[in-house]
Amino acid sequence: MTPIYLDHNATTPVDPEVIEAMLPYLGETFGNASSVHQFGRSAKVALERSREQIAAFINCEPSELTFTSGGTESDNLAVMGIGYANRERRNHLIVGAAEHHAVLESAEFLHHKEGFGLDLLPVDREGFSSTAALEKLVTDRTALVSVMLANNETGAIQDIPALARVAHHRGTLMHTDAVQAVGKVKVDVKELDVDLLSLTAHKIYGPKGIGALFVRQGIRVRPLLYGGSHEKKRRPGTENVAGAVGLAKALEVAGRRMHDDHETLRGLTNYFIDAVLSRIPDTVLNGPRENRLVQTANISFKGVQGEPVILSLDMENIAVASGSACTSGSTEPSHVLTAMGLAPEVALGAIRFSLGRSTTKEKLDHVLSVLGPIIERLRSMSPSRPSRV
């Protein structure tokens, strides 16, 4: 049995078309994009062409895009870059309670080490934040509101334009972490009405190690790195040209396939969710049924911890996750699920199935045939421990 991969929210394989597009920039066109000679010029052209393609994809100007090493760096640069650039007038931050740790811990750093005020914007049972809650928190001192477009654990898609309106009313900037959303749903920075937006390549069949941060024209961001004039000094370091080409190509492929992938994955995921909820007793879907990334299914199996389920599925050649891969190994329940008000024991029993282009109904049927007995076996295990001396 070939392994079945249901962890696409953690990462994805690089699309063959993307690999092909990148290869010349690992070989013959290897130049440093900042060099003046022909090697450098060829690399620079590829870099800027990629920037234009990505900008067009999210409807911004090429000059508003800064290449980074990925989602974590983009999020750090957004939160800390805006925080440091505005601290004289605005030293308060609001971030979603269910944000990725790249946002949460950046904000906590500014809070603990630099004296910023910090408020967490609560989420409801389904993972959504309300404009009313944000209105209560945002003040004239708030520098930034950061709320994820689509949640990595539950797939919940937030109403970013509505939240942005509340932030802008106070002159506060709006950032969204769109790492899980870009390439899966339409992402248009003007429709979203955001000032900053993070994206990455490896969640959408692109390479690891490349991402970008959109910063609307005219907004100052203090850099995190120093050492050159690359990326207009906003992010120095020799440009990852092959990565940028890969990101642009991954978005192009995703854009071309978006409608079809969306329809296919919606059907498959709904089939899977319905099958699990109807066939395995005491299971709940965490997060919303509507307004979510259609490829994500976060399901709690009551009375069972997530970890043994994941390991048992791994032994059956099926790859799933409990919450985010960035926090795996932790024995704490997911902060996303607890922020949604789930009891710790329900949160600890959560499994994230994230489907992708390789997923088929046959594979899901196989997973379903294996999953039921595993849950049954784990539930039948006596909770008492072996006798002690």
């Binding site: 390991l311 048992s312 032994m315 190994g329 932790s330 295990m381 421990r385 072996p386 002690r388 001396v389």
Partner: protein, 356 residues
């Protein structure tokens, strides 16, 4: 798997015997919590050790998982380690960890994964004796024998435990690892307490307790006649038979004889007084079948590196016994394990009770 050569080879041997093997590393503690030198080689529970496990499991074709048991370990083993020293005893944390954390947690995990057995890299044998009970025997490599720390493991646990290294010498284990190109083949050995990597338990006690806002009470070091000879900075920093670091001058060497927590005194005396003819063993676990005779002979180990001594055992209750040595033994230390053997078979073990 600790990341050392022993558990690596244990996994390899079982794989070769045809078992489906799954590697697991128990993350038991963090240097942040226990202090010490994180850069010392060959230490368990570090990222480097976990990486070593990963490479070994990858090489032998076994899945590998890290199990986080640090909360259980801190509550059950480290807290007990500290309170035992505070109570004037000298604990064997490995014994407690084996019976109260490792086997329990490991078997639970085995059940979750549908595994029939758990395996370890201990130098000891487990075999089915008469009447269906399982018993522990010393490993072939007498210099590595670890049967001493296994007396507390229950029958239920022994029944499902494999120890493939019992029949091997350490040198053979290293040779097997080298032959298979396992990266742990030449890894240095660690024989101290895993969470006290620098082997300085006094440093550990001070830092761990200071971290929790708990201190130690200084008191007197007295002679056997009660005369005050010096000061100590906490009875927990002393152990029976200790000579160095007493800060007491005397024409003849003095040794810690007794620790009296009640009066907060460390009692010292000359070497002759360190020898005792008997001890009381409590919390006994009879590893195989329970003894039926009123009294019987056995060889007895009273610390990890102790040549077994002949003794007569007189069971008092199901879990306690008098141990009467043929020859007096030096530095009988409350809190240490006392393990009874018939040749190379472990009959049982217990803890040395406080000396009245």
């Amino acid at each position: 798997m600790s990341g050392g050569v022993d558990s690596s080879v244990a996994a390899l041997l079982l794989k070769e015997e045809g078992y489906t093997v799954i590697g697991a590393h128990m993350k038991l503690w963090d240097y942040v919590d226990v202090g010490g030198d994180i850069h010392k080689d060959g230490r368990c529970c570090t990222i480097d050790s976990i990486t070593d496990c990963r490479f070994v499991c990858d090489a032998i074709g076994a899945p590998f998982y890290v199990l986080n048991l640090s909360a259980e370990f801190r509550e059950t083993v480290i807290e007990n380690f500290v309170s035992e020293y505070r109570a004037g005893r000298t604990p064997n944390p490995c014994v407690r960890c084996n019976s109260e954390v490792k086997w329990d947690a490991f078997l639970k995990k085995a059940d979750e994964l549908g595994c029939e057995y758990i395996a370890t890299g201990h130098y000891a044998f487990i075999e089915r004796g008469e009447e269906g009970t399982y018993r522990i025997r010393k490993g072939v490599d007498q210099t590595r024998d670890q049967s001493y720390v296994l007396w507390g493991v229950s029958q239920d646990a022994l029944k499902r435990t494999l120890m493939p290294l019992g029949r091997l010498l350490k040198s053979e284990v290293r040779e097997i690892a080298a032959r298979h190109g396992l990266r742990t083949a030449t890894k240095p050995e660690s024989r101290e307490i895993c969470f006290v990597a620098d082997d300085d338990y006094r440093r550990f006690l001070s830092e761990y307790e200071a971290h929790r806002g708990r201190s130690f009470e200084p008191g007197d070091i007295v002679g056997e006649d009660g005369s005050v000879l010096g000061r100590h900075n906490g009875t927990a920093f002393y152990t029976i038979g200790q000579r160095k670091g007493l800060g007491v001058t005397s024409p003849r060497p003095l040794y810690v004889q007794r620790i009296d927590v009640g009066s907060n005194q460390v009692i010292v005396g000359e070497e002759d007084s360190l020898y005792r003819g008997e001890l009381l063993a409590e919390r006994i676990n009879w590893t195989g079948k329970k003894p039926t005779a009123d009294t019987f002979d056995a060889e007895v180990k009273i610390r990890y590196l102790h040549a077994p001594a002949r003794a007569r055992l007189v069971p008092l209750t199901a879990h306690s016994a008098r141990v009467i040595f043929v020859e007096k033994q030096r530095a009988v230390t409350p809190g240490q394990s006392v393990v009874f053997y018939d040749g190379d078979v472990v009959l049982g073990g217990g803890l040395i009770a406080n000396i009245p």
